[in-house]
Point group: C2
Chain length 197, copies 2
DNA sequence: CCAAGAACTGAATAACTATTCATTATGCTA
DNA sequence: TAGCATAATGAATAGTTATTCAGTTCTTGG
């Protein structure tokens, strides 16, 4: 079997896992269910993943890669100001989760539990993301548009916390709002607290 | 058996459950383990709780009661300004979780998963809490110290999000910092974004 | 077209554990 | 203190499910 076809099947299994786990939770989803939805036999799962838990880790890694790559691009851009970069990261975060409710559920609900199992391992992906935001805060201080006494990592955690709560709130609410529509008010409030006076 | 002694035993079981679940997760903790730590037989658990899940709900309710009662007191106080009230709620939130790491772990990690099972049920406790914060924002607007265009519920979610992220970060970090020490910088940043200019 | 290795299958296995309930202990009242 | 109700026990039950592996089907290079 060609490498591409193998990769495609792996993706299909992962997609099935995202869908089922989002709807029924990690412990409420059996390997058989995932296999059935992916259209493979139970045993086949184990040709692609060492265990059920490894599947969850893979979901996290695949999503985090998408996330980080795009955020990185925003941060690296030359010529853009820190305020603008921060707004775009906020918008990106809310858009990516807002586009895929199943993935959002897994991020906001299932990983929280898994973090307990994986502990700092999974958090390391978040740490990189926080560092990225912190860099933007640092730039803003250098530009003189953010308060000189803002602690970059602390500020990054505040930003992440707000985004995270928005996402969780959206996931748990039944209303049919767009998550991305909250980007502007979030940016406004955060920038209000950050700007040099 | 007297009602007090019964209540005391119920509390002992709940304490044992908090300890074990915080350390090993809900699914990593067996009813037998909780029973052993509480010093009772497995079957005894079921004289006090209908099921394992009900134990978790009881933990949530017991803690939320403590939480809400104190927050309510702050909000109800006459003569205090909205800025001051907000600062005190921030401090309260971080103190209560900071005083009891096991409880904090359950709140920040285990309940996230359980929310999936209990869905909006558990969130309703949070909803009341959010409403309380929103009321303070409203007062601040009436006093003229907060921006006139601040949306109270949205702002409450932002505040909660920041507090929540601080708590999660503290729970997952191994460092021996005090959670409550972040109250001041959190308040500063939030008030900076909220104040009328 | 045909090995032969790669990929896949799914029933069987091997735990694991929430909950029950027949039995025993305890405490209270008269 | 006897008798009765209440409380506690913990071994047995009943069900669940991740993982394995012996056997089958597909692919492909010569």
């Amino acid at each position: 079997m060609s490498a591409e076809r193998k990769e495609a099947k792996r993706e299909r299994i992962l997609d099935a896992a995202v869908l089922e786990i989002a709807r029924h939770g990690y412990y409420g989803t059996t390997v058989s269910t995932i296999a059935r939805r992916a259209g493979v036999a139970d045993g086949t799962i184990y040709l692609y993943f060492k265990s059920k838990e490894e599947m969850l880790v893979s979901i996290f890694e695949r999503a985090m890669q998408l996330f980080s790559a795009q955020a990185q691009q925003i941060v690296d851009e030359r010529g853009a100001g820190a305020e603008d970069k921060l707004c775009r990261i906020v918008a990106l975060h809310l858009s990516l989760l807002g586009e895929d409710r199943d993935l959002a559920v897994i991020f906001q609900v299932e990983f929280r539990h898994t973090l307990h199992v994986l502990e700092l391992l999974s958090r390391s992906g978040i740490r990189d993301y926080l560092a990225l935001i912190a860099r933007v805060v640092d730039e803003g201080k250098a530009e003189g548009v953010f308060k000189a006494d803002a602690d970059p990592l602390f500020t990054a955690k505040v930003v992440f916390g707000v985004l995270d709560e928005m996402a969780t709130d959206w996931v748990l609410s039944r209303k049919n709002t767009r998550l991305a529509s909250r980007a502007e008010p979030v940016s406004d409030l955060l920038l209000g607290g950050l700007r040099a006076s």
